[in-house]
C-alpha cells in the first residue's frame, strides 16, 4: 500500500494526472487550467505532471479552460480541469456545452461560497447551479474519496452507455487543504482501471461533420431525451465500475448513497460532503443513548438517487436534511430533491436545516441541535437556519 499524506487538492490533481497519462497510447490528454482559490493546487499539480502524451494549457479564464477541454475532447483526447465558485460561474456557458455535446470531461469542483460578498469557505452553491446541466455530480466526503472518485469519474464518464461529463465535488479547505493519510493510486493501477478513452463521435477527418448546428424543436427534444436516457444509466453503470475499482485497487469506493444504521431507525438525517462525517459521529453518540436514529450520505446528486432514497426512508417517520447550500426563497437544494423523491410515498415529515451556508464550521454541537430539533417536531416547517448569532 502506498499510504501518504495528501490534501484533497493533491488527491484530485494526482488522480486526474494519472488518468490523463493512462491515455498515452490513445489520443493523449489535454487540460485547460486557470487558478482560483481554493482549487489552484489541483491545476498546479496537473501543470507539473510529466505527461508523455499530454498538454496542459494555462489559459486566460475558466471559460476558456472548459473551452479547451471541449475542443480536445471532441478530438478524442481525455480532457479534465478544475475550478471553484465564481470561476465555475464564469465557466457556466461551456459547462453546459460539454454535457450537451456528450463529452466525457472530468472536472474537480472545490465547493466555495459564491461571491459577493467575497468569501472563500465551503458552500455547495457553486456546483449546484449546474444541477440542470446534465453533468453527473459526485460529492466527496474525504481526501481518499476524492482520490478514488476522480478515477471512477473517468470510467463512468467515458462509458459508452453514459458519455457525459462528471463533476467531482469537495468542500473547500475542509477537504481541499487538509492533509489526510490516504492511498494514492499508482500509474500501473490507473492503466489497468482505465481503458483508452474512446469517444465515438470524435472528429474524424475521413468523415467531416460540423458540430453545433441549428436544431429545430423536434430535434432538440430528441437530444434532450437522449441526454435523459444516458444519465438514467448512471446508477447501474456506476455500480459496475465500483466493483471493477475494488478488483483493481483492493478497496471500496463509496457509491451514490451510503446508509448508516438506518435499518431500525425512526428518524433519518441526510447530508452530503464532510457534514456527513460529523453526522455519523453524532448518530453513534445518540445510538449509545438508545435513540433510534440513522443517516444517509448522498454522494451522487445528479442523477438524483430517487429510488434508493425512497427505499431507505420507507419506514421512517421523520427525516432531517442538512444542506450546506440554499436556493433563495425555497431552502436547501438537497432538501428540495428529497421532498420531491418522497412525494406521494407515505407522508414523511421532511425538515430542512441550512447548516454551514457561507462556509461556517458545522461542528458536532450544531448537528446535535438539528437532531434535538427534529426529535421534538410534530410537523415540518420552513427551513431552519443554523449558525446565525441570535
Amino acid at each position: 500500500m502506498n499510504m501518504q499524506l495528501a490534501t484533497g487538492n493533491q488527491a484530485a490533481g494526482h488522480s486526474m494526472s494519472i488518468a490523463g497519462e493512462a491515455n498515452r497510447h490513445a489520443r493523449g490528454s489535454i487540460s485547460g487550467i486557470y487558478p482560483i482559490t481554493p482549487q489552484t493546487e489541483i491545476v498546479e499539480y496537473v501543470a507539473k505532471f510529466p505527461f508523455s502524451k499530454g498538454r496542459v494549457i494555462p489559459v486566460e479564464s475558466e471559460h476558456s479552460a472548459m473551452g479547451v477541454c471541449i475542443g480536445a475532447s471532441l478530438n478524442g483526447a481525455r480532457a479534465f480541469t478544475a475550478s471553484s465558485s465564481n470561476g465555475l460561474a464564469y465557466m457556466a456557458e461551456n459547462v453546459m456545452v460539454a454535457a450537451f455535446y456528450r463529452l466525457p470531461i472530468v472536472m474537480a469542483a472545490v465547493n466555495r461560497t459564491l461571491g459577493p460578498p467575497w468569501n472563500i469557505w465551503a458552500d455547495q452553491g457553486d456546483s449546484l447551479m449546474f444541477r440542470d446541466f446534465a453533468w453527473v455530480q459526485l460529492y466527496c466526503d474525504s481526501n481518499q474519496d476524492v482520490a478514488d472518485t476522480t478515477l471512477l469519474a473517468f470510467r463512468l464518464a467515458e462509458d459508452p452507455r453514459v458519455l457525459l461529463p462528471v463533476m467531482v465535488c469537495m468542500d473547500a479547505f475542509i477537504v481541499s487543504h487538509t492533509s489526510m493519510e490516504i492511498e494514492l493510486a499508482s500509474q500501473e493501477q490507473a492503466d489497468r482501471y482505465l481503458p483508452p478513452c474512446e469517444i465515438p463521435h470524435h472528429l474524424d477527418p475521413a468523415h467531416p461533420v460540423t458540430v453545433g448546428g441549428m436544431a429545430f424543436p423536434q430535434e432538440t427534444l430528441t437530444h434532450r431525451m437522449d441526454l435523459d436516457q444516458a444519465i438514467r444509466q448512471v446508477p447501474a453503470v456506476l455500480e459496475e465500475h465500483r466493483a471493477h475499482f475494488n478488483e483493481v485497487f483492493g478497496r471500496e469506493v463509496s457509491g451514490a448513497v451510503s446508509a448508516y444504521r438506518t435499518e431500525d431507525a425512526d428518524q433519518i438525517f441526510i447530508a452530503s460532503g464532510t457534514i456527513s462525517l460529523t453526522l455519523k459521529d453524532v448518530v453513534d453518540e445518540r445510538r449509545q443513548k438508545g435513540e433510534k436514529i440513522g443517516m444517509i450520505r448522498i454522494k451522487m446528486f445528479r442523477p438524483f438517487p430517487t429510488a434508493e432514497i425512497a427505499r431507505l426512508c420507507r419506514n421512517v417517520e421523520k427525516i432531517g436534511v442538512l444542506d450546506r447550500n440554499y436556493s433563495a426563497g425555497t431552502g436547501g437544494i438537497f432538501w428540495q430533491e428529497i421532498r420531491a423523491a418522497l412525494q406521494g410515498r407515505g407522508g414523511h415529515l421532511v425538515q430542512g436545516y441550512l447548516t454551514g451556508v457561507g462556509g461556517g464550521d458545522v461542528v458536532p454541537d450544531a448537528v446535535r441541535e438539528v437532531v434535538a430539533d427534529l426529535k421534538q417536531r410534530t410537523e415540518a416547517g420552513d427551513p431552519v437556519w443554523k449558525g446565525i448569532d441570535q
Binding site: P35, V56, E60, S61, E62, Y90, G115
Partner: protein, 317 residues
C-alpha cells in the same frame, strides 16, 4: 536606494488644502511588505489631495486580485467587483453619474487575461476615467501563476518549465484599439513619475490607461530589478503635453521628446524592447467620449410641448 531618494522629492501642493493625502486612506493597506501597490495607493492619495476630490463624489472600481483590494483602502465609494469585470461596472457608473470621478484598479490578470474582452471595448468607449493597470507580471493573489504579461521563460506554478509565449504587451494592445485616447507607462520605483503620470491621466478627458510596472517582492522580485538598479536602462518620454518631471533629469539621462499626439511614433516606441520607456505614449483630448456621445440633451418645457403638438398633428382629422 534611488526610490527612497525620489520619494522625498515631493511635489508641493499648489492650492489651499482641506483634505490631506492621509485623509483619503480608509484603513491600512494589507499587501506583502515591499509590494508596489503601496506606492500606487500613496500616489493616488496625493492626487486626490491635490485635486481635493470629495470622497462622496469619487468611485473606485476593481476586479479581483492583489491590486483589487484598492477600494478597501481608499476613503471614497468602492466597488470590489468580479474578476476581470471592473471596466463594464465602471462604465455603468460613469454613464449613470457622469459627474463622478471614476478610478479603476486592475491587475494584469483582471485587465489582460480574464477581462481582456472588456478592456478592448472600454478603450473604444473612451469613458472619462482613470484606469490603473498594476502590472506585476504574475498572478499574485492566487500565489504565483503565469499571467499574460509574465516574461517568456519565467517559471511559475502553472508554467513550471517557464512561460511558453512572449509576454503580452498592454501598451501595444491598447494603442492598437480604435479610439484609444490616453496611454502611459510608469513604474512604482519612480514614485514622482507615477504621481505625475496619474495627474496627467486625471486631467485627460477620456479613458486614461496607465500601466504601472509594479514589483511583486514574493513572486517576481527580479523582473524589474535591472531597471530599478540602473536608471540608464530607462528612457523617459517627455513632452509638455505628456509628463515631464524636472526633478528626474539628473537620475534619468535618457530622455526623448515625444509628442503624445503622434500615434505612429507611440506605437513604434511601444514595440521597441531596447529600453524601458516611461511616460505618456499617446494622448488625444479631442476623441469622442462615450458619456458625452450618449448624453441625452436637455429639452426645455416649451420644446417638449412643441414636439408633442407636432406629433398630435399627424393624427389630426
Amino acid at each position: 536606494m534611488s526610490s527612497i531618494a525620489i520619494s522625498l522629492l515631493d511635489l508641493e501642493a499648489d492650492s489651499p488644502v482641506c483634505l490631506e493625502a492621509d485623509d483619503y486612506q480608509k484603513r491600512p493597506g494589507k499587501w506583502c511588505a515591499g509590494c508596489g501597490d503601496f506606492g500606487a495607493l500613496n500616489a493616488v492619495k496625493r492626487l486626490m489631495a491635490k485635486e481635493q476630490l470629495q470622497p462622496e463624489k469619487t468611485v473606485f472600481v476593481s476586479g479581483i486580485g492583489c491590486s483589487s483590494r484598492f477600494p478597501h483602502y481608499v476613503n471614497a465609494y468602492g466597488f470590489h467587483g468580479i474578476h476581470g469585470r471592473a471596466l463594464p461596472v465602471a462604465t455603468g457608473v460613469k454613464l449613470a453619474r457622469p459627474e463622478l470621478d471614476v478610478f479603476v484598479t486592475m491587475g494584469d490578470g483582471d485587465c489582460t487575461s480574464i477581462g481582456a474582452g472588456h478592456w478592448i471595448h472600454a478603450i473604444r468607449y473612451n469613458a472619462n476615467m482613470v484606469v490603473l493597470l498594476l502590472d506585476n507580471n504574475i498572478y499574485g493573489l492566487t500565489k504565483n501563476q503565469t499571467s499574460p504579461t509574465t516574461p517568456q521563460g519565467y517559471a511559475s506554478m502553472t508554467s513550471p518549465r517557464g512561460a511558453v509565449l512572449p509576454a503580452l504587451d498592454p501598451l501595444q494592445a491598447t494603442l492598437g484599439v480604435s479610439n484609444a485616447s490616453f496611454v502611459a507607462q510608469t513604474a512604482d520605483w519612480v514614485p514622482v513619475h507615477m504621481y505625475a503620470t496619474m495627474q496627467a491621466a486625471y486631467e485627460h478627458p477620456g479613458f486614461s490607461f496607465v500601466r504601472i510596472l509594479q514589483r511583486c517582492p514574493k513572486f517576481t522580485p527580479d523582473v524589474f530589478q535591472k531597471n530599478v538598479e540602473n536608471p540608464d536602462l530607462t528612457e523617459l518620454l517627455v513632452h509638455e503635453n505628456g509628463v515631464d518631471v524636472p526633478a528626474l533629469e539628473q537620475l534619468f539621462k535618457a530622455r526623448r521628446v515625444h509628442d503624445p499626439l503622434n500615434i505612429d511614433d507611440a506605437r513604434s516606441l511601444a514595440r521597441r524592447s531596447d529600453m524601458l520607456r516611461l511616460g505618456v505614449f499617446f494622448r488625444d483630448d479631442s476623441l469622442p467620449v462615450y458619456e458625452k456621445v450618449r448624453a441625452v440633451p436637455k429639452v426645455s418645457a416649451e420644446e417638449k410641448v412643441a414636439r408633442l403638438n407636432k406629433e398630435f398633428e399627424r393624427y389630426a382629422v
